[in-house]
Every structure is written in structure tokens, then in C-alpha cells.
């Protein structure tokens, strides 16, 4: 049941486009932003969108478009690093568990996963920031921790499937130990899965960052982040709705983009994984 090329790219293209836009904006912001986001201008605050400030100005008179561009750095960076933590720690754990399937190490790792899953993520995030003080880094850690079991579980599940394939037997006949097998045979075959999950987690990371920042636990001022922009604007929604509107829309669009990209990649990279 091969999909027609049309439906194959239905998600991929718009997803990729959206993601590129936001990453582009983030990168661009290093070299150019319409206005300096470090400059406050109380007199110019909460202007509605106009020709000068395309998206208006915030409660300190900073240009919202510029803020969004700079904020993209933080939001994307936080999400990205958090996902990386999940992958770097989770995948090896999953591979290990799979190659020791059924034995105590596997048990241990999986129970560990359950344990982490058992904790209410947001509450723990709040605890962490309570312990180490709120900061982007701690937000990353908080989000990252909960990415680990996701990837560990995913990896183990997929790896188990591969371990039953005959080419693994062949590799063992060739006298390869489970580490080499995991690296040479398992990993390449679950890569697609990881990439897809990665993009999904990435989008979740952005949402998480927004959530944490909203309760004041994310990036600290003056560093702008989409979540903080929402948080700062929360008391002003009725006064100047655009302060909350634009950051929110940016979050929605970036998450949407990443999800589309994820589904798109799933369709494109590996028909066997396809949900559509």
C-alpha cells in the first residue's frame, strides 16, 4: 500500500518550510534585528502593530518582532538541548536494555524508566528550579530528564524487533559482541524512528519551555524567550492583546511545523513506520 507521492509530501513540505522560517529567524537574529531588544523605551510601550513596528511593541517598548527573533534562539535552543539529552542518555540505555533483554539490567533500566514516568513532570520541573533557581539551563535539565525514558523506551522497543532479525544471528556467527552489534546493526536500523521521535519531542520541548517560562521558571531576563514573552504579557492581554497573540502564534506555528515535519519524515524516510 504505497502512498501516492502527493500524500507523501503533504506534511513534509509545509513542515520543513515552517521550521526553516523559525530557525532562519533565530540565526538571522545574531546578525540583524529590526530594533535593539536591549533598549527599553517606556514612552513607546505597547504600541499596536504599524509600519515601523510590524508586530507592535511590548510593555517596555521593545519591538516585538525583534523580540520574537531573539526569543527563537532561547526557545529553540532549550528544546533542542533537552531533546539531545534525551537522545544521548536514553538511546544507549535503550540499546543496553535491548541487548540484555529479560535480564536484570534490562529490568533495572525499564523500572528506572517507569519511575521517572511516574513523577509528575511539571511538578518535578518546579522542584528542580526551586532547588537550583530558575534559569534556561535548569529548564533544559528539567525537560531533558523526561526525554530520557521516552527515547530509552522507544529505542528498546525498536531494538528488540531488530534483535530478532536473522542478520543479527549472522553478525553473531561472525563473532561480534552485543556492543558492536548494537552500534553497527541496531542503531542504523532505528535511526529513522529516532529522528522522527526527535522532531516530535523537540516540539514538545518548545511547549514545555513555554509552560515553564509562563510560571516564571524558564529563561531569566533580560534573555527573551517566547514563553517569557507570553508570561510578561499575561497581565496585559486585555490591554494589548497583541502582546500575547504573537508569541502564542509563533509557538503554535513552530510546534505545528515540527509535528508536520516529524510526520512527513516518517512518511518519507521509512514506509514501514507510516501511520498515514
Amino acid at each position: 500500500m504505497a502512498a501516492t507521492t502527493k500524500s507523501r509530501f503533504r506534511n513534509l513540505v509545509p513542515g520543513a518550510v515552517l521550521v526553516c522560517i523559525f530557525f532562519g529567524a533565530a540565526v538571522l537574529s545574531f546578525f540583524y534585528t529590526p530594533f535593539d531588544v536591549e533598549k527599553f523605551n517606556i514612552a513607546q510601550r505597547m504600541l499596536r502593530p504599524d509600519a515601523v513596528h510590524w508586530l507592535g511593541t511590548d510593555h517596555f517598548g521593545r519591538d516585538i518582532l525583534s523580540m520574537l527573533m531573539v526569543g527563537a534562539r532561547t526557545s529553540l535552543a532549550v528544546a533542542f538541548v533537552a531533546v539531545s539529552i534525551g537522545i544521548v542518555v536514553g538511546v544507549p540505555l535503550g540499546l543496553m536494555a535491548a541487548s540484555y533483554r529479560g535480564r536484570w539490567l534490562d529490568e533495572l533500566i525499564m523500572r528506572g524508566n517507569d519511575l521517572v514516568f511516574a513523577f509528575p513532570a511539571l511538578v518535578i520541573a518546579i522542584m528542580i528550579t526551586a532547588v537550583f533557581g530558575p534559569s534556561a539551563v535548569n529548564a533544559i535539565i528539567a525537560i531533558g530528564i523526561f526525554n530520557i525514558p521516552v527515547f530509552a523506551r522507544l529505542t528498546r522497543g525498536a531494538a528488540l524487533g531488530i534483535w530478532n532479525r536473522e542478520f543479527i544471528l549472522a553478525a553473531r556467527v561472525a563473532g561480534k559482541n552485543s556492543v558492536r552489534i548494537s552500534v553497527e546493526h541496531i542503531l542504523p536500523n532505528i535511526l529513522n524512528l529516532l529522528i522522527v521521535q526527535g522532531t516530535i519531542q523537540f516540539s514538545l520541548g518548545i511547549l514545555a519551555e513555554a509552560g515553564l517560562s509562563y510560571v516564571g521558571l524558564g529563561a531569566q531576563p533580560p534573555t527573551p524567550s517566547w514563553g517569557r514573552m507570553l508570561a510578561d504579557s499575561q497581565t496585559l492581554t486585555n490591554l494589548a492583546p497583541h502582546l500575547a497573540l504573537f508569541p502564542g502564534m509563533v509557538i503554535v506555528l513552530s510546534v505545528l511545523g515540527l509535528n508536520l515535519l516529524g510526520d512527513g519524515l516518517r512518511d518519507w524516510l521509512d514506509p514501514r513506520l507510516r501511520r498515514e
Binding site: R165, L169, A171, V173, A174, E184, N189
Partner: protein, 541 residues
């Protein structure tokens, strides 16, 4: 007038033609055999009749059943006929049943779907049908779930669903391919008797000439979506007019030319030692099965129980037995992939766990040409992998040279070295598998159902290859298969295995012609045979 008529039926999926201009008829009460290799479109034809073609497929022409053009009916109207007047049995009994419904529910559903009778009545009918199909309700209550039944039993359930309403036509698509020989025989008998009792028309789709020949009145031979030949079975199978039919027959009973391995090849292996190449002594391989209940000790299940045999250099030994008899466990043990509970496995007199250098003497070719290669690696890397067991790794150039030469030995091109596996057909893949096995210059290759998954014609060529390699490299084979006919044709000696034990062994011919152990006898008896006339025909080829 015929019960089923195909008028210029053609099917294409996403604009690629799958079936081309099929015309054939099946009369009531008749048995039609459909013969063809994989990709011949025989299953697709069945699905077309049932209206179960995959999404995006387009059908032209007419499928007339009782003068009704099935393919022109609405889904609803068609569903009233399917399952009622037409029943179907599929190849994979393991997955053909809904795991979350009891077998009773599934049969009853089928009945009540088409007949407005009370649940009680339906239940009665269901249990009656099941016992007709060999699942008497005192041993197999309707409340059983599929996972509690064996493959053969599940297939009986599927059949029961199909015949519960005494359909006019039963379509059986490779109903026994996934089953063991003995089970296959039983199921075929069942189908046969049912067909006669209810005077159904039966469309029996199979790749196995013998199976078809033993049951069908008429036969249809298909190739790449076209009917190449059809007619009453006897003329077709005696005259063998069409070249393809003839080729099939030849291949199905192929005996590769086997010359004794040249001596130089042999000598360099079976090191001066007089001990046999492979010697298995009182081998026991056991699994721990977690005991039910709490502290009950995990009881062990002996998959291989006190087996002793040996394989000499250059010899080809068959190992036959049905699924679950411990064949594959034995294989793994011999390959050093499994801890041995007791007993010994010696290669040229040295114990296999004395290190890689011993293991390099033994290589393996697996059954599944698709599953046994890492799709992400290039052929060169795949073939070179076993070199890992050598004490001294060859240089990259040296490695590539070996790969190329091996590729040529197994009849592939040196250019294939940097292709990915998915670019090859099943037959080619098995050749690559063989190449992989050869690269360490082993003395013994374990062929684990190595040709079972291949079409007859391809299988023949692979068997030839194996034979010639045996000569060239002085190889010994441990040929594991459930297919006695092949074993008969390619092995010198045969070992018969049942539930972990070796029940009979000896010279292939004598064992298979005059089996002494009753299990062997049952095995041999249940192998479907081509009728005499066909044999006569083959001899004339």
C-alpha cells in the same frame, strides 16, 4: 453452465498492471488448482474475486458468479454473497484470526451475518462445523481463543468459518504452505472431504505441483499475471506443452549433479586428524521456562535432548523434522550461539568454545533471504562481516579482492559489491548469503532451510550452485529442511529429529524409501507426491 467465470479480468494497482486479461471458468463441485510462483498474481486473483483488492487498485472485465457480475455489485450486495456462497481460506493461520474473539464468536459471527437464526441455533451450527473440521467441541470448546491453538488447528477454524454456510465456492490460497508436512496432509484431506461432502467448487491456489496434482480436476498455470496454460489436469500434466509448465516440473524434482569433492580441497580442511569434521556427542540444549506460581523452580525444557551425530568432510547431511522439533536450536548450538547444557560439539576434534578460529570452520545460510541482511549495509560489507572471526584481519584491499572473487564464484557481478541488499531478488540474496558463508573458507556450511523460501525454479539454480561449490571448496553441508523431496535430492545421509531427539539416521535413500521409525514413516507418507502419469512425463524430459 459454469459457477464462476472470469471475463477478461485485469487488475492494476496505482497504474501498474498486476493481472492481465484473465479468462477462465470453474464449474460447480469442481476443484481447480492454480499453480504459479510468487508474483504470478494467483493470490491477487483470489482477492479480486472476493473484492478484497487493496486500496487504489482498479479492476476491469467481469467476474461472474452464478451469473451475477460480482465486481459490479454494491459493497453491501457483494458482502451478502461473500462468506455465504463464497468462502475463503488464507495462507497465514497464525494471523488470520482475531486474537481478541473466541473461535466460537468468530464462526458464529459469520453464520449470523448471513442467516437470520437465533444465537443458540448459530452456536449449535458453529460447534457442529468446527467438529466437522476436526475440532470437536469437547476438546476444543467454542470459548477457546486463537492463541490457545496450534497453527494447524487455527487453520481448521478458518476453514470452519469458510464452510459453515456450505458455500458453493471455496477459495483456498496456499492453505498449507505455512504448515508442517504432516499437518499439511491432514488439512488437505480435510479440504478434500469437505469439498466432496458439500459438493463445493474449490479453487486451490498453491505453488506446489504435487499438492495441486493430488487434488485438482482442472489446473490453471499462471506467470506474471497471465494465465499461460489451463485445462483438465491430466492432459496438462502429461503433455507439458507449455515451456513454463515444463520448466516448473523439471525444477520441482531437480537433482543437482553431484560429483565427489576434489581431494586437494578436502585435505586442506580435515586436518590430518581422523576425527570427523563435525562431531556432536550427547548434546543437550535446554531453555529455562519460568515456572508458574511463585517459588516453583523455573523448570527447564530440553529443546535438544541427548543428540549424537557427526558430519564428515565433504559430506552433505540432511536434518529433517517438523517445526518445534529443535532443529534451529541445534543449529544455533552448532554455531556456538547457544550455551550447551551438556554434551560436546567438536570441530576437527576441537571443542567449539575454544575460540573463534574453531568457529570460522562453520558458517551458516539462513532461510529468510529478506531478513538475513542488514538493509543499511552495502553487499561488500555484508559479505565481509564474518572475516571478523579471523585472528588477523585482512587489509581493506585484500578484503575487497576476496569479496569480488567470492561474488563471482556464486554467480554475481563484482559490481554488485557496492549495491544495497534491497536491489536484489530472493534468489540473488541467497547467493549473497552463500558468499557471506564462504568468505571465511569454512569446511562446513549449515543450510538452515536455505532454499525453503525460494520458488522452485530459483531453488533449482541455488541447489546447483551449492553442489558445484561443494566440489570446488570441498564443503560439507548440514542441510536442515522440512522438505523431504529436496533432502532426498541433495543429501548423502539424513538425520530425522522429533521433539529434540534423533529418532532415525542413515543413508538418505534407504531411510526415505524404507523408514523404520514410525515417525519417519508418517513423515514420508504425508509428503504429497506427483501422480504416476506426471512422473512418467518428467522422466521423458
Amino acid at each position: 453452465m459454469p459457477l464462476l467465470t472470469l471475463n477478461a479480468v485485469a487488475v492494476s494497482i496505482h497504474d501498474t498492471a498486476i493481472l492481465k486479461n484473465l479468462n477462465t471458468t470453474l464449474d460447480a463441485g469442481q476443484v481447480m488448482g492454480v499453480i504459479g510462483e510468487s508474483g504470478s498474481g494467483k493470490s491477487m486473483m483470489a482477492l479480486a474475486i472476493m473484492g478484497l483488492l487493496p486500496q487504489g487498485s482498479a479492476l476491469t472485465g467481469q467476474i461472474l458468479f452464478d451469473d451475477v457480475a460480482l465486481n459490479e455489485l454494491t459493497e453491501k450486495a457483494r458482502c451478502q454473497i461473500c462468506g455465504d456462497d463464497i468462502g475463503m481460506v488464507f495462507q497465514e493461520p497464525m494471523t488470520a484470526l482475531n486474537p481478541v474473539h473466541t473461535i466460537g464468536q468468530q464462526v458464529i459471527e459469520c453464520i449470523r451475518l448471513h442467516q437470520p437464526i437465533s444465537r443458540a441455533a448459530a452456536t449449535a451450527l458453529a460447534s457442529e462445523t468446527l467438529s466437522r473440521c476436526g475440532l470437536p467441541s469437547d476438546q476444543f470448546p467454542l470459548s477457546r481463543y486463537p492463541h490457545e491453538l496450534s497453527g494447524g488447528q487455527r487453520q481448521r477454524v478458518v476453514i470452519a468459518m469458510a464452510v459453515a454456510l456450505k458455500p458453493k465456492l471455496l477459495i483456498a490460497d496456499e492453505p498449507t504452505t505455512a504448515l508442517d508436512v504432516t499437518t499439511q496432509a491432514e488439512i488437505l484431506d480435510l479440504l478434500c472431504s469437505l469439498q466432496q461432502e458439500d459438493d463445493m467448487a474449490l479453487m486451490l491456489i498453491s505453488h506446489d505441483l504435487a499438492v495441486v496434482a493430488s487434488m485438482a480436476d482442472t489446473v490453471v498455470v499462471m506467470k506474471e499475471g497471465v494465465i499461460v496454460e489451463q485445462g483438465d489436469i491430466e492432459p496438462v500434466f502429461t503433455q507439458l506443452e507449455h515451456p513454463y509448465t515444463r520448466a516448473l516440473f523439471k525444477a520441482s524434482d531437480h537433482t543437482p549433479p553431484r560429483t565427489a569433492p576434489n581431494h586437494r580441497a578436502l585435505v586442506n580442511h580435515s586436518a590430518q586428524s581422523e576425527s570427523p569434521l563435525l562431531e556432536v556427542k550427547d548434546l543437550v540444549v535446554a531453555y529455562r521456562v519460568p515456572g508458574r506460581g511463585w517459588f516453583s523452580r523455573a523448570n527447564t525444557f530440553r529443546a535438544v535432548d541427548q543428540m549424537s551425530f557427526s558430519v564428515n568432510a565433504g559430506e552433505s547431511v540432511g536434518l529433517v523434522g517438523e517445526s518445534g522439533c529443535g532443529k534451529s536450536t541445534l543449529t544455533r548450538a552448532v554455531l556456538g550461539l547457544m550455551p550447551v547444557a551438556s554434551g560436546r560439539i567438536l570441530i576437527n576434534g576441537t571443542h567449539i568454545d575454544e575460540g573463534r578460529h574453531v568457529l570460522k570452520q562453520v558458517q551458516v545460510v539462513f532461510q529468510d533471504p529478506y531478513g538475513s541482511f542488514n538493509p543499511r549495509h552495502k553487499v561488500a560489507r555484508l559479505i565481509a562481516e564474518p572475516l571478523n572471526v579471523l585472528e588477523t584481519q585482512p587489509t581493506r584491499r585484500e578484503r575487497d579482492r576476496q569479496v569480488v572473487s567470492i561474488l563471482e564464484d556464486v554467480g554475481l557481478l563484482s559490481s554488485d559489491a557496492d549495491k544495497y541488499i534491497h536491489e536484489f531478488s530472493g534468489g540473488q540474496r541467497q547467493r549473497i548469503a552463500i558468499a557471506r558463508a564462504l568468505i571465511t573458507r569454512p569446511a562446513l556450511i549449515v543450510l538452515d532451510e536455505a532454499v525453503s523460501a525460494l520458488d522452485v525454479s530459483v531453488r533449482a539454480t541455488v541447489l546447483d550452485l551449492l553442489a558445484s561449490l561443494a566440489t570446488a571448496y570441498g564443503l560439507a553441508y548440514l542441510f536442515i529442511s522440512h522438505d523431504l523431496s529436496v533432502v532426498r535430492n541433495v543429501t548423502d545421509r539424513v538425520l530425522v529429529m522429533q521433539s529434540g531427539q534423533l529418532v532415525e539416521q542413515g543413508d538418505t535413500q534407504s531411510v526415505l524409501d524404507h523408514p523404520t521409525h514410525d515417525y519417519t514413516q508418517r513423515l514420508v507418507a504425508s509428503v504429497p507426491r506427483l501422480p504416476e502419469y506426471a512422473h512418467a512425463a518428467i522422466d521423458t524430459l
